[in-house]
Every structure is written in structure tokens, then in C-alpha cells.
Amino acid sequence: MSDGITNILVAGIGGQGVMTATEILAQAAIAKGYDVKKTEVAGMAQRGGVVNSHLRFGRRVLSPVIPAGAAHVLLAFEAAEGLRWSKEVRPGGLVLINTSRLPPPVVSMGLYPYPQDPVAEMRAAGLRVQPFDASGIARELGEIKLINTIMLGAIADHLPFPAEDLKAQILSRFRARKPELAELNEKAFEAGRQGAKAAA
């Protein structure tokens, strides 16, 4: 990408696997020989708060923080969280977003409204948005925790290296730790890839 650094912003809610997904993306970039930095603000994220993780890779990465409005891709694990960080995406940039909605207690209590149509709002701001129901896919596959592999599948065709390299990274991770889950995660990865592609 033009300045030689790829900026990927991954956003979601504590417990969704945002940090693990970013870690896997980072390892895939390392395997391609890039310098990599990854940072997140997740002080109390385990408590259901906002999580966003910055991944930057290129020949040499200095600041770990993506400058304002300079993300090439936003990978959003929840609809409103995608909208929240959409201003960090460069004009015309890509948003891959799970359309599933997880309203926090303050919304349930009626203190704040949930945004009516996050996808339309981002499109109106000039972003390329590919919305799909990653949570629905995860439920169909029988395990909501697959959402991070599905989201990785969604971004796989939008990286400066082949989708197969990212897939190999995920599979080798599972083969090493939980081999019985490798096949299911491969399915999830491909389903995410198709889901995002269909939404293009």
C-alpha cells in the first residue's frame, strides 16, 4: 500500500477473539518477512468493553499506532463497533463487518439507542463496506467462538499476500494446539471468505 505500511484495524468486544485474530494476522505477516507491530487498548476488555487492535506491517514499522484516518482495512466483529471506528479508515477504504448486533446493558436499559443502520452510515461516508452475518455462520457451524476464524477468512483476500498463507497460519496453529478443531476452522475460514466475497 502506497507508503509501504499496511494498516489493519480489528475491532469488537472483549471476549470475541479480536486480539487472537490480530495475533494470527501478525504471525502470517511475520512469515512473509515483514516487520510487524501490534497494539491494542484493552485495559478492561475482559469486562465486555470495547477492544480495538492495531496491526501494522511493512519494511520497517515505527509507531505501533495507526494514524487517525489511515487504516486500509477495518475488520469489525460487531455492527456498532464497526461504525464506532469507521472514522479511522482512510477515505474509500474497506470495512469487513459482522452485521450481528450485541447491544450493551446501557442500550438494553434504554439509556442510549443502537445506531439504526451502521452499514448505510459507513457507505454514506464513502467507505467500501462488505457486511455479512459472521455470527450466523458461526452458529450454523455450531460454535460461536469460530467468529474470529470467520472474520480472518473475510479479510484473507484483502491482504498483500495470498489468502492461502493466512489459512496455513491458522491451520498450523490449530494443528499444534487443538488438532481436532483444525477441520472445523478451515470450514469457518472458507465460509468467512465466501461471506465477505458475496457482500462485495
Binding site: E23, K38, G43, Q46, R47, P105, V106, V107
Partner: protein, 622 residues
């Protein structure tokens, strides 16, 4: 924790700053590592704990952690003591005299500042401690530097017989970057050599150490002037040159790729002559530091013309977007046109909240029901979140253990309006053992009328579930002596009949206990005993669901604040008496509900049921 921590020498891995420090400390041959959990420093000790041959402990507080590390250093062993910034306030009594004795075995104190306040009660700049305690400070910018500076810090410590402060920030601790790891060294065994003139700090001995401390300052300043950790990076655009330290360097380098930068890794004692030479080669000098103007003030006192906090942010991180515009303005350049005229999208806040079925939910539900009758002093932990929606049941938070002293102060200073109110202190198990015990002793000794809620969830929750003396396991998960809280508080002077152990899921019992103890004019302690839902000890039950036909939309269950309950439909209705009320019909996410049954007890319509069971006839919790 990354598997790469134990990788062979000369291999390159993605490590967080905290992991890099742990690996480097192991390579430096430490024998002892101590800490108390605190964001963003917690993972340093957790990472050290995977290496064999190191005594690794989460101490009961940072002062004790530092004392254990001092003892190890006095005995000639290398030691690492890590903590978050506010931990240094606790440790400072030991620290300030350690300054006089100095170190024998290499002693490195890692202090992690929460610049940007992601998970802390304040944003203090720990570099002051170097000035206050006459100790050198190293400031890494990223994981690779955290690794290299930790190794260098042990050498520096032994060379100058001084402890060394490694000052990190959240943006070093939790950022992952590439690190090439090295070989482990095996430092020679030391052994304790009695030396009362050095180790026994009575006035006559301390007097003799004072001049040595100042000689050390001079020698360290000379070392900083020559240190390879202080780098001059030349640049073609000499209109402005930067003096900077820590991660601010990375943000500046990215923002001004052609500017000369003097990057200070060994930033205290400040190498003033090095800065003076650097200043001679640039038109204007800008000092950029997170967060207080420490180097700036010292350089101004040395007569150097420069700009600093007049134009740069006085708090928070010096991110590219924070440093670029003011420096461009200084140069008389317009900031680049903001290519981005998009309005910021409006999205609800998503504050951190207590977990599904968290035992603290019961406590805060009960407190929120008697809100106007009590003053509630809070403490540091997950339960600080009780200040938020929907409970709003916390009046104060200052620091670790403060709930006790503050409650007593409120009790003793009651105004007429508060005479009839109960004063409650809420504190968790680990925080109580950290600094709450003395406060409770002070309440009993001074005949306070305070009801203490001791929330024993058998872990240090907010920092990710570290073991503590209350749960009977050490940092490695091995069995350890276990504190009996009821006996402990009795020993601290609370009458046996004023100590109760209550299951926080049993809301009516908890509420009754609170009412009774508040009514009695004596110190009392109510211990809640459900484990944190995130630890293995927690036993899940079958989830509940909402019977839609029975739900009246009263919304009472929402007052528990459990994230498993959400509103599906809101309706406004007019009651017979003409009052308009809003109804909230709810659902329970059965994939996350643990069957704790707290919400069941708030439902007057018996609409919360277990799948397959009949409404109103519920199995009891074990």
C-alpha cells in the same frame, strides 16, 4: 503467554514489551522475581514464572515485593521487581532508603506507567522517582528495546551498585514487536556478606551513605553522557530537532522522518552536555516526553533555549496526531489539510461491566436497593464497576485499601444529614490482603461504625485472575497456605458475632445481613464467598430462559445488571391511575447464562424459568 518466550538464542519472535522484559531477565540470570498484579505490568511476572530456577512470587503488595527483591540483591543474587505506576507509591518507603544502601546483586525495578489511563486511577509519571531516589532510569520505546535495556539494566546496576528503574508505559508493555532473543548468562553466586555500615540504615550509617549517593549521581550522569542507549539520529531537515524518550520517539520519527532526533534511552541522570551538542546542530529544539516536563525543566535550567509543554500535550500519549500539528505550527507551516471531513459517528458508549453471573452483581443489586440509606466507600478491583449503571452504588474510589480509611473518616465526620445512614466499605479479597487489613484494624481500634463487605471471589479478578494468599494457590498454581478471612478479621478486632459469611447469589439473605449489620453501632464484616465466574472453581448450572407469556415487562430483573439479560421490546402503557409507564420485555441469552438464579429472585411474575421446568418451581442452587 507466547511460546516464543523459551525460544532458542538468536531466533526472532513477536513479543510484547512485558514478555521481552521477562525473557531478558531470565537471560540476565535473575534468581528472584516479585510483583503485585496491576495493568499494564501484570504479565511480566506471569511470563517470568514459566522459567525454571527462579523464585517467582506475586507478593501481597508492592512494598513487600520490593523488600523481597532488595533482600535477594543484598544476598548477591540478581532480582527483578515489577509493578504498575501506583504500585511505586506503596513501595516508596522501601525504595527511598534502598537509594542509600544501593544494590549488590543486579536489581532492576520495572515501573509501568499507564500513559493514556487505560486502566488506572491516575496518570503519574514514574520518572520522578529517579530524581527523588537518585536512581538511573532507562526508557525503552518498544519490545526490542525493552529486551535490550533490561539486559543492560542488570549490568548497569552491578557496575554502579545501584538499583535501576526501567520505566515502561502501556504502549511498551502491551505492544508486540519483533525481538531477537539471546543466551542465558550464569552470574556467579553471591551470598550475603554482613556489612552493617551499608545494610543497617540507622542515622549514623545513613549519614555516611549520603555523600556516596551524590557521588553515584555524578558517575551515572557521566555514564549517561557516554551511553550507547542515547542515540543521535541525524536528519536533513534541521529546522527542528527533538529530544525525546520512550515510545514518543517512534511517533516523532514517523511524523518527522527527516528531523534530527536525540533519543534518550538512559534518560536520568540527564546527559545535559550531549543535549547541548545536539542543540548546536539544529535551529530549534523541541523536548517531547510522556508525560511531565522533567527533561524539559532540567534543560531549561541548564540554559538551553527550547520548546516543550508550551506546545505539546501535558497528559496522555504523544501520538503522531498529537505531535504533528503543534510542531508544524511552530515551524509556521499549516497543518496538512485534514483530508477527512467526515463527522464522527455517534455510537453509544460500551463501558466495561461486570460479567454474566458475577457474584458482585448480587452485592451491588442489594446496595442499589438501599442506596439512599448508605454511604459506600469503594476500592480497586472489578467491583469498582459498581459505580456504573445500573447500580450507581459506589461513592468513592481512591487507591488500594482506601475503602477502609475513607469509610472511617466518613463515619467520624458525619454531618447531621448523614447521622441515620449506614457507612459501608466494599473491598475485594486481594485488595484486602494488599492494604485493607491495616485499615480494618484501624476501624476496630478507633471504634468505628463501618460495615465492611469483603468480596471474596477467590482470585485477583480485574487483572485477569491471579492467585493470592486467599485462594490457597501460588503463582504456579501449586497449593499454598490459605488465609481464613473470617479468622483474620476476627484477629483484627471484629467481634465474632459481627462476622458473617453470605452467598451473594442469595439476595434476600444478603440484604437482610446488610440491614442488620448497618443497624448495629459496631464494626462488622460480611464476607461474600462465591468464586469469580472466570476461574475453574466456579460451577455453572443449567441456564434460565424467559417465559414470554409470563414476562410483564416490569424490568425488575434488569436492575441486577447481568449482561445475559437484554430487552427485546419496549412499550409505553397507561395504567388505570393514568400514569404512563415504560415496559421492557426481556430475554436471557442461554448460551452465556450460568444459571446463577439472581434474576429469578427479582421476578415477581415467575417468568424466569429453566428450559423444561415449570414456572415457579425451581431447583435450588447447591
Amino acid at each position: 503467554m507466547s511460546a516464543a518466550l523459551k525460544a532458542p538464542a538468536l531466533t526472532r519472535h513477536l513479543l510484547s514489551g512485558n514478555e521481552a522484559i521477562a525473557r531478558a531477565a531470565w537471560e540476565a540470570g535473575i534468581r528472584v522475581a516479585t510483583s503485585y498484579p496491576g495493568t499494564p505490568a501484570t504479565e511480566i511476572l506471569e511470563a517470568v514464572s514459566i522459567f525454571p530456577g527462579i523464585h517467582t512470587e506475586f507478593s501481597v503488595n508492592e512494598k513487600v515485593a520490593m523488600e523481597v527483591a532488595i533482600g535477594a540483591s543484598m544476598s548477591g543474587a540478581r532480582a527483578l521487581c515489577s509493578m504498575k505506576h501506583v504500585g511505586m507509591n506503596v513501595a516508596s518507603d522501601a525504595f527511598m532508603t534502598l537509594s542509600l544502601t544501593g544494590a549488590k546483586g543486579g536489581l532492576v525495578i520495572v515501573v509501568a506507567d499507564d500513559v493514556g489511563l487505560s486502566s488506572s486511577q491516575n496518570e503519574q509519571d514514574s520518572r520522578y522517582w529517579g530524581r527523588f531516589g537518585h536512581m538511573p532510569i532507562l526508557e525503552p520505546a518498544d519490545s526490542d528495546e525493552a529486551y535490550r535495556m533490561t539486559v543492560a539494566a542488570f549490568d548497569l546496576s552491578e557496575r554502579f551498585a545501584t538499583p535501576v528503574i526501567l520505566r515502561t508505559t502501556t504502549r511498551v508493555c502491551h505492544v508486540k514487536g519483533m525481538v531477537t532473543v539471546g543466551e542465558r548468562q550464569e552470574p556467579a553466586e553471591g551470598g550475603f556478606a554482613p556489612d552493617p555500615m551499608r545494610w543497617v540504615m540507622v542515622p549514623s550509617n545513613a549519614q555516611r551513605r549520603l555523600p556516596l549517593q551524590h557521588e553515584r549521581d555524578r558517575a551515572l550522569r557521566q555514564a549517561a553522557e557516554e551511553s550507547p542507549l542515547n542515540l543521535v539520529e541525524d536528519g536533513s531537515d534541521k529546522r527542528v530537532g527533538f529530544v525525546t524518550s520512550g515510545p514518543a520517539y517512534l511517533h516523532l520519527r514517523e511524523s518527522f522522518p527527516d528531523a534530527p532526533i536525540l533519543k534518550l534511552g538512559f534518560s536520568h541522570p540527564l546527559p545535559v552536555e550531549l543535549v547541548r551538542r545536539f542543540a548546536g546542530g539544529v535551529e530549534r529544539l523541541v523536548v517531547a516526553e510522556e508525560t511531565e516536563p522533567l527533561m524539559e525543566t532540567e534543560l531549561k535550567a541548564a540554559g538551553l533555549p527550547l520548546v516543550g509543554k508550551e506546545i505539546l500535550p501535558r497528559w496522555g500519549e504523544l501520538l503522531p496526531d498529537a505531535v504533528r500539528p503543534p510542531v508544524l505550527a511552530l515551524l509556521g507551516e499549516a497543518a496538512p489539510p485534514a483530508g477527512d471531513k467526515r463527522p464522527a459517528p455517534s455510537v453509544f458508549p460500551r463501558p466495561p461491566t461486570l460479567c454474566v453471573a458475577c457474584p458482585h452483581l448480587g452485592v451491588y443489586f442489594a446496595l442499589s436497593r438501599m442506596r439512599h440509606k448508605v454511604l459506600i466507600s469503594g476500592d480497586i478491583g472489578c467491583y469498582t464497576l459498581g459505580a456504573g449503571q445500573p447500580w450507581m452504588a459506589l461513592d468513592t474510589t481512591i487507591c488500594m485499601g482506601a475503602s477502609m480509611g475513607i469509610a472511617l473518616g466518613m463515619d467520624k465526620a458525619r454531618a447531621e444529614a448523614d447521622k441515620s445512614k449506614g457507612v459501608i466499605a466494599v473491598i475485594g479479597d486481594s485488595t484486602f490482603l494488599h492494604m485493607g487489613m491495616q485499615g480494618l484494624l484501624n476501624i476496630t481500634y478507633n471504634r468505628g461504625n463501618v460495615t465492611v463487605l469483603l468480596l471474596d471471589n477467590r482470585t485477583t479478578g480485574m487483572t485477569g485472575g491471579q492467585n493470592n494468599p486467599g485462594c490457597g494457590r501460588d503463582v504456579h498454581g501449586q497449593t499454598a497456605p490459605e488465609v481464613d478471612f473470617a479468622k483474620l478479621v476476627e484477629a483484627l478486632g471484629v467481634k465474632k458475632e459481627r462476622i458473617r459469611v453470605v452467598d451473594p447469589y442469595e439476595l434476600p439473605t444478603l440484604t437482610r445481613a446488610l440491614r442488620e449489620e448497618i443497624a448495629i453501632n459496631e464494626p462488622s464484616v460480611i464476607i461474600t464467598d462465591r468464586p469469580c465466574t472466570l476461574i475453574d472453581e466456579y460451577a455453572k448450572l443449567r441456564p434460565y430462559r424467559v417465559d414470554d407469556d409470563r414476562c410483564t415487562g416490569c424490568g425488575a430483573c434488569m436492575n441486577v445488571g447481568c449482561p445475559a439479560i437484554s430487552v427485546t421490546n419496549r412499550e409505553k402503557v397507561v395504567r388505570n391511575n393514568g400514569a404512563e409507564v415504560e415496559l421492557s420485555f426481556v430475554t436471557i441469552d442461554t448460551t452465556i447464562c450460568t444459571g446463577c438464579s439472581m434474576c429469578v429472585k427479582t421476578c415477581g411474575a415467575d417468568a424466569i424459568v429453566r428450559p423444561g421446568s415449570t414456572a415457579g418451581k425451581e431447583e435450588a442452587n447447591p
